[in-house]
C-alpha cells in the first residue's frame, strides 16, 4: 500500500503526456477534416499545412483542438476513445460475436494456456533430468542458456505457416510456440531451484539415510518452489507474447494479434489500440494470478519468494 500514491502519480503523469500528445499528433488530420466540413482553417491548403508542425498548427487553430480528441481515424487515439472501444467490445457485445474482444481474447488465451502447461511440464522434466544426470547437465544446459539469447519469437509466424502446410491447424501450432517460449525459462529456473538446497541440508538427509528419491521429493522439490514461480511468471508472459506475435502477420482471422493487424490495415486505429490494451490487461491478469497463487503457496509452505 506504501507505493499506491507514487504509482498513481506516475500513471497519471504518463496519461497527461499522452493526452497532450494527442493534439499535435492528430492536428493535420483534424485540420483536413475540419476544412472539408466547412470550418475556417489557417493556412487553408493541406500542402501549406505540411510546412507546419502539429504544434504550430495547433497554436494557429486553437479552435480545432477539441476536435483532435474525437477524430474517427486518429494517428494517436485519445485514452477515452480506447476506453469506450474497450467497453463496447468487451462488455456491450455478446461474447459469441466476432467483434467481441472477449471472443478474440479466448482465441489467443486458449493456445497460450495449453502451450504454457506443456512447456512448464516438459521444462520441469528436463530440469529434473539435468539435476540428476551429469551428462545432460553438461550437454543440454549450455544450449538451454544460449537459446535464451536467440530471437526465436521473431520466427513464430513461420512456424505457424509450416505447421499449417503440414496439416496441423487450429490451436496446436500457436500452443507449440507458447510451449517453446515458456520451456527454457522454466528449465533454467528449476535447475537453479532444485540445486538450491545447501550442503548442510543435503548432509542432514544423508544422516537420515534417505534415498535419492526421498531427497528429491522431500527436500529438492519443495526447495525449488519459489524459483518455479519466478520462472512461471516469466514463462506465462513470454507465452502470451509468442501467441500474439504468431497471430500478427500470418493472416489469422481471430485473436488479439489478428485484431491489431485488422485495425491497422482497414484504417481503424482505435480497434488496434483497444486490442493492444486488452492484450496488456490479459498479460497483467495472468501474471497477477500466478503471483497470487505464489503468495498463497509459499505462505502455506513457510517460504519467501526467490
Amino acid at each position: 500500500m506504501k507505493s499506491f500514491f507514487p504509482v498513481v502519480t506516475v500513471v497519471a503523469a504518463v496519461l497527461l503526456i499522452w493526452i497532450i500528445a494527442v493534439v499535435p499528433m492528430n492536428m493535420h488530420l483534424t485540420a483536413d477534416q475540419a476544412q472539408r466540413d466547412g470550418l475556417v482553417v489557417s493556412p487553408d491548403t493541406p500542402i501549406a499545412r505540411q510546412d507546419f508542425s502539429g504544434l504550430g498548427l495547433a497554436v494557429r487553430n486553437s479552435h480545432l483542438i477539441p476536435l483532435t480528441y474525437v477524430n474517427i481515424r486518429p494517428r494517436l487515439p485519445s485514452p477515452h476513445q480506447i476506453a469506450i472501444e474497450l467497453y463496447d467490445t468487451v462488455i456491450d457485445k455478446k461474447i459469441t460475436s466476432k467483434r467481441s474482444l472477449v471472443y478474440h481474447g479466448w482465441v489467443t488465451l486458449a493456445p497460450t494456456l495449453l502451450g504454457f502447461a506443456i512447456g512448464t511440464l516438459l521444462g520441469i522434466m528436463l530440469a529434473v533430468g539435468i539435476v540428476f544426470s551429469r551428462v545432460m547437465d553438461r550437454s543440454v544446459m549450455p544450449w538451454a542458456i544460449v537459446s535464451q539469447t536467440i530471437p526465436i519469437l521473431a520466427l513464430a509466424p513461420m512456424i505457424i505457416v509450416v505447421m499449417g502446410a503440414a496439416g496441423i491447424q487450429g490451436i496446436l501450432p500457436k500452443a507449440v510456440i507458447a510451449a517453446y517460449l515458456s520451456f527454457f525459462p522454466v528449465v533454467v529456473g528449476m535447475v537453479k531451484g532444485l540445486r538450491s538446497p545447501e550442503g548442510m541440508q543435503l548432509d542432514l538427509l544423508r544422516t537420515y539415510h534417505s534415498s535419492n528419491s526421498q531427497g528429491f521429493w522431500k527436500l529438492r522439490l519443495p526447495a525449488s518452489t519459489p524459483y518455479l514461480f519466478a520462472s512461471l511468471k516469466i514463462g506465462i508472459s513470454a507465452s502470451l507474447i509468442g501467441t500474439i506475435v504468431a497471430e500478427l502477420p500470418t493472416g489469422a482471422k481471430a485473436g488479439f494479434g489478428a485484431r491489431m493487424l485488422v485495425g491497422d490495415q482497414y484504417g481503424q486505429p482505435i480497434l488496434s489500440w483497444a486490442a493492444l490494451f486488452a492484450a496488456a490487461i490479459t498479460a497483467a491478469a495472468l501474471v497477477g494470478i500466478i503471483g497470487m497463487i505464489e503468495r498463497g503457496t509459499l505462505r502455506q509452505m513457510g517460504m519467501k519468494p526467490a
Binding site: 507505493s3 504509482v7 553438461r138 536467440i150 521473431a154 513461420m158 507474447i241 493487424l261 493492444l276 498479460a283
Partner: protein
C-alpha cells in the same frame, strides 16, 4: 533406411562419448566442458541431416543443414546487407536510444524516493506486456525504413533497463552513503563514485535482457513494412517463395547475432564490474 540407421548410430556414438567425457576423470577440465555441448549440438545436426534424407522429408518443410550451409555461403552479400539493415541500423540504434532514455529517466526518478516507488512497479509491469504489438502502429508513424524499427526497439528495451537501473541505484547501504557524506561528497560525486558503480551489475542484467528483445523487435517490426532489405523482410518473402533454406539461413544469422550481442555485453560486464563477487 540406411540413413535412419546411420542417424541412430551417430546419436548413440555421440551419447556414449559424452557420457564417457562427462563422468570421466577429465570431466571438469575446461576444454572438455566446452567440447561436450559442442558434441551434443553436432549430433543433433547430423541426426537432422540423416533423418531428412532417410524419411525423405520434403525440403520445403525442413531443409537439410548442409543445404542451409550452402545457401549461406552463396548468399553472403545479401545476408550481410540484411544484417546491416536490421541489426546495425534498426536494433542497435533503437537499443542505444532506449538505453540512454531509460538511464536518464532512472537517474531523474532516483532523485526522489516517491518517484522511485512509483516507477519501479509501473516499469516492471510494462516490461511484462506484449509491447511488440505496437510494431504496426509505429511502422505507420515513422515510415517503413529502419527509423520505425529503431523506435519499436527503443520502447521494448526501455522498461527492462529502466527497472534494473532504478533498482541498482537503490542498492547502496546506508553505511556506504554515510561514508561518502563524511568525505563531504555531494550528490554528483556520490552518484559517480559510489552509486553508479554499485548499480552496474543490475544495469548489465537489464542490458542483457534487452539484447534479445532488441533483435526480436527489429525483426518482427519488418513483417509490417520494410524496404526490400532486412532480415524480417527476407524471412517473410523467402517464405512466400518457399525458399526455406534462405529462411533458415536468416535464422542462423539471427541466432549468431543474438548470441554475439549477448556475449559482447557479458564481456563488457566482466570488464566493468571486475570487482563484483560473481566475477572474482
Amino acid at each position: 533406411m540406411i540413413y535412419i540407421v546411420l542417424g541412430f548410430a551417430f546419436w548413440a556414438a555421440g551419447w556414449v562419448l559424452n557420457v564417457r567425457l562427462a563422468n570421466g576423470p577429465s570431466g571438469d577440465v575446461r576444454s572438455v566442458r566446452i567440447a561436450i555441448p559442442l558434441i551434443f549440438g553436432l549430433t543433433i545436426l547430423v541426426i537432422w541431416e540423416f533423418f531428412v534424407l532417410g524419411f525423405e522429408i520434403n525440403p520445403v518443410f525442413l531443409p537439410r543443414p548442409s543445404d542451409i550451409m550452402i545457401r549461406m555461403s552463396q548468399e553472403l552479400p545479401r545476408l550481410w546487407a540484411d544484417f546491416v539493415q536490421t541489426i546495425i541500423k534498426g536494433a542497435l540504434t533503437g537499443y542505444i536510444i532506449g538505453g540512454l532514455a531509460a538511464f536518464g529517466v532512472a537517474i531523474l526518478a532516483d532523485r526522489s524516493e516517491f518517484l522511485t516507488r512509483g516507477v519501479l512497479p509501473v516499469g516492471s509491469f510494462m516490461a511484462a506486456l506484449p509491447i511488440v504489438g505496437i510494431a504496426p502502429i509505429f511502422v505507420k508513424w515513422f515510415g517503413s525504413d529502419w527509423e520505425s524499427k529503431a523506435a519499436v526497439v527503443a520502447v521494448m528495451v526501455f522498461f527492462p533497463i529502466l527497472v534494473n537501473a532504478v533498482a541498482g541505484l537503490r542498492d547502496t547501504t546506508a553505511m556506504q552513503r554515510d561514508l561518502m557524506r563524511t568525505y563531504g561528497a555531494g550528490y554528483w560525486p556520490t552518484l559517480f563514485k559510489l552509486r553508479l558503480p554499485a548499480a552496474m551489475p543490475f544495469i548489465f542484467n537489464g542490458l542483457k535482457i534487452a539484447t534479445t528483445l532488441a533483435l526480436i523487435g527489429a525483426i518482427v517490426a519488418e513483417f509490417f513494412g520494410s524496404p526490400t532489405v532486412g532480415m524480417g523482410f527476407r524471412i517473410s518473402t523467402s517464405f512466400g517463395q518457399l525458399a526455406l533454406d534462405m529462411v533458415w539461413a536468416e535464422i542462423v544469422v539471427a541466432a549468431l547475432a543474438g548470441s554475439a550481442c549477448y556475449g559482447l555485453v557479458t564481456l563488457l560486464e566482466r570488464w566493468m564490474t571486475f570487482w563484483h563477487p560473481s566475477n572474482r
